[in-house]
Amino acid sequence: MHGEMHDELNVLIGGEAGQGLVTTGQILTRSLVRSGFLVVATQGYHSRIRGGHNTFAIRAGRKKLRAPRESVDVLVALNDETVALHRGELVPEGIVVADESFAPDSAIKVPYKELASARNVNVAALGVTSAILGLEGGIVRGALEDQFGKKGAEVAAKNAEVLARGFDWFASSGEKGRPLAPVVDKMDDDKVDDGRPRRLMLNGNEAIAFGAISAGARFCAFYPMTPSTSIPLALAAHAGELGFVVEQAEDEIAAINMALGASFAGAPGLVATSGGGFALMTEGVSLAAMTETPIVIVVSQRPGPATGLPTRTEQADLELVLHAGHGEFPRAVFTPGTVEQCFHLTRKAFELAERVQGPVFVLTDQFLADSYRAVDPLDVETLDAVGVPDEGVELKAPYERYRLTESGVSPRLMPGRSGHLVVADSDEHDEAGHITEDLSIRKLMVEKRLKKGRILEAEVLAPEFSGDDRPDILLVSWGSTQGSGVEAAEAVRARGKSAATLHFPQIWPLVPDAFLPHLRDAGEVVAVEGNATGQFARLLRRETGFGIEKRILRYDGLPMTPEYIVRGLESLGCV
């Protein structure tokens, strides 16, 4: 009944919105993570609540997986449109799992109407698919009960029954499965010594939310906008137990101003939005800089311009985030490439926002925001609350909020926390914070604010180089394309050329000394970006003089994949 074991498999679940595809995908992903496998999940959906075509792809295996894969091993079709759209992606040995009423000849034909009512077909499909992958029924059942637990014990039990029917049907069907080779020492792998669970199933947005809390954030204001909404929702889900306040704002302008008010008062805050919402916030960015108020701004990119493709992915707001906010002031922009980096770079963002008292950005996108991974526990108990203001400062009256200092940073007090008066102003101001028309003070204040940029430069994260030194081909990437770049480099090596990736988890500031040698030492340098104009390549040329002419660009709304990069290299004549 079982076929040979697979080191990794790519499962694609497809169907209409409303068929419970995401539920199936999430439970399957959690089952895989609890079984000890590593995963890269990729969600694709339309901007609607019912109908359309949605997909949930899970690439799972026991070795390190960093990117999506285009070819599909198991196509779980909840409707016939899925078969038509994705059959061509199947590997030669790949299979379709579908209802007998529309399954193609070579497929595993499931009599869903015998296993479940129309509402639970997705759970029956989960059972069948889990059995195909060789997963333990108990683990899947546990994951299902945790998922349905909030809906009550009865609902969970009913669904567990349907799940079991799916498993049993496959066991007795005589069909050949596609079992994943189990993780060695799986039972020991499941728990660390003190009995706490091993890996977490987290997506990029959840990691950002937890990174913020661990850094000391207390406030988030937001307006719902795909693909950023799951950040405030994750914060809201835990707000009570973790002492956090989430407020849904009337618009994005209110959101950023609220977060600035909270931060000014001493509660570290963040906002999360996408390009169009961020466009509304840009005056607020300028306000943060002028009043020297810390704030972390998360922009989760989707294709624009304007409303664009609300549910797809892109990397085309780099220039917007780099320049938004009238006037001149320093900023930092982090661009995490993995879910772990989403956590750690958000922490770094809070640390720097407080340190330089200004706006710091975390730039992500729909692909990473929605991409579940198996993450090693983040040891939060060993991490400091790096974004919390220091209230231990002793100062003499009269307190001057914008006292000129060597570093440009003035000691920051919060209103009502001492006998001192704290005055902040969006007008140009004197050291005391009051409006000034004195142009020599103006000049000093411009220089004060810009001087803080030196701290950001000193703290910059160098780009990550991985692969062969002096490579034939160097792939330059930023943000969520990191994993695809690394796997593409592996594919290039398999074809006999040396290859490496240079990935930027921070695109501003740039400290050329840290990476120019890598660019100069490579045979050919290729920029990999999810936009049409090569925004980062152009930024690099602007700042360093080094031009990257060869570019692999993707702007169809879909994530960058290793295969897309390799095809691009072929077109460029590099491989």
């Binding site: 977490l200 207390r218 704002a249 008010g261 008062a265 526990p377 009502g416 005055v423 102003d425």
Partner: protein, 283 residues
């Protein structure tokens, strides 16, 4: 004991004869009489001549963007509900640029005292119609006279059951002081729309114009009677009622957020254990 002198005396950027002087006086008196010390109060203002007012007294201040004082005030109040937060700006800032935030603040009933200097014109930008300019008001921007109906802030506030709605007049400083004192003591969003002349750019709604029309709401008006309040709120023109129009005991937003019952968000230590436990649920 807090005295008016504790609030200091500062040179202003206002035109001689501006109604803002009287309002500033009333605000200082109200604060002193309420026993609120300068370091205990946070003023949040936007942009405009009125928005400069908090620079002219000793206080904590966040002078932000045009129209955006209320969201900043909301964020600050949620971060530290113990702070006395007063929003002070002009009507252009509060009802025009910031109109959406005015409505949202009324919905939230955030515990902020909202003092609006309402002179029915945009003064600092030199004389355009404002949200409360009467129809037909002639300016260089509206040379044929303003064509839009004026915004009625007190009627909107009563319709939204704001917790405290009052209208004052800069020409009646003692009456205004009392209104501001009452507003500051009231939980939730307390609005005082303060009529004042703009001597430089509004030649219609002058000090004399307001004096002739404003009358104090009689003592027998019950501010809890919403129907009566709405009638007063809609009265405008030859007779303009000033005083407390409406009062409601709707709880403030910050009093309804369980997290805040444990104290302000400011100064809390991260509970790493609780965070680790919360994250374990994702395994």
């Amino acid at each position: 004991m807090v005295s008016v002198a504790d609030y200091g005396q500062y040179e202003t950027a206002w035109c001689p004869g501006c109604g803002d002087f009287a309002i500033l006086k009333a605000v200082k008196k109200a604060l002193a009489e309420s026993g609120i010390a300068p370091h205990e109060v946070l003023f949040v203002s936007g942009v405009g001549q009125a928005a400069k007012a908090p620079h002219y007294l000793n206080c904590n201040l966040f002078n932000g963007l045009h129209g955006r004082a209320l969201p900043v005030a909301t964020g600050a109040k949620l971060a530290n509900p113990g702070l006395k937060v007063i929003c002070e700006s002009g009507e252009g800032c509060t009802y025009g640029e910031g109109g959406n935030h005015f409505l949202a603040a009324l919905r939230r009933n955030i515990g902020v005292t909202l003092l609006v200097h309402d002179n029915q014109v945009y003064g600092l930008t030199k004389g355009q119609a404002s949200p409360t300019s009467d129809e037909g008001f002639v300016t260089k921007a509206q040379p044929g006279g303003a064509l839009s109906a004026p915004f009625n802030p007190v009627a909107i506030a009563v319709a939204m059951r704001a917790s405290f709605v009052a209208r004052g007049f800069a020409g009646s400083i003692d009456h205004l002081t009392e209104l501001i004192t009452k507003a500051m003591a009231h939980e939730g969003l307390a609005l005082v729309d303060i009529l004042q002349p703009c001597v430089s750019f509004n030649k219609v709604n002058t000090f004399a114009w307001y004096t002739k029309r404003c009358y104090e709401i009689p003592a027998d008006h019950d501010p809890g009677d919403r129907e009566a309040a709405m009638k007063l709120a809609e009265e405008w023109g030859e007779r303009i009622p000033i005083g407390v129009i409406y009062e409601d005991d709707r709880p403030s937003l910050e009093s309804r957020i369980p997290t805040l019952s444990a104290g302000p968000l400011v100064g809390r230590k991260v509970d790493a254990k609780a965070l680790a436990l919360a994250m374990e649920k994702y395994a």
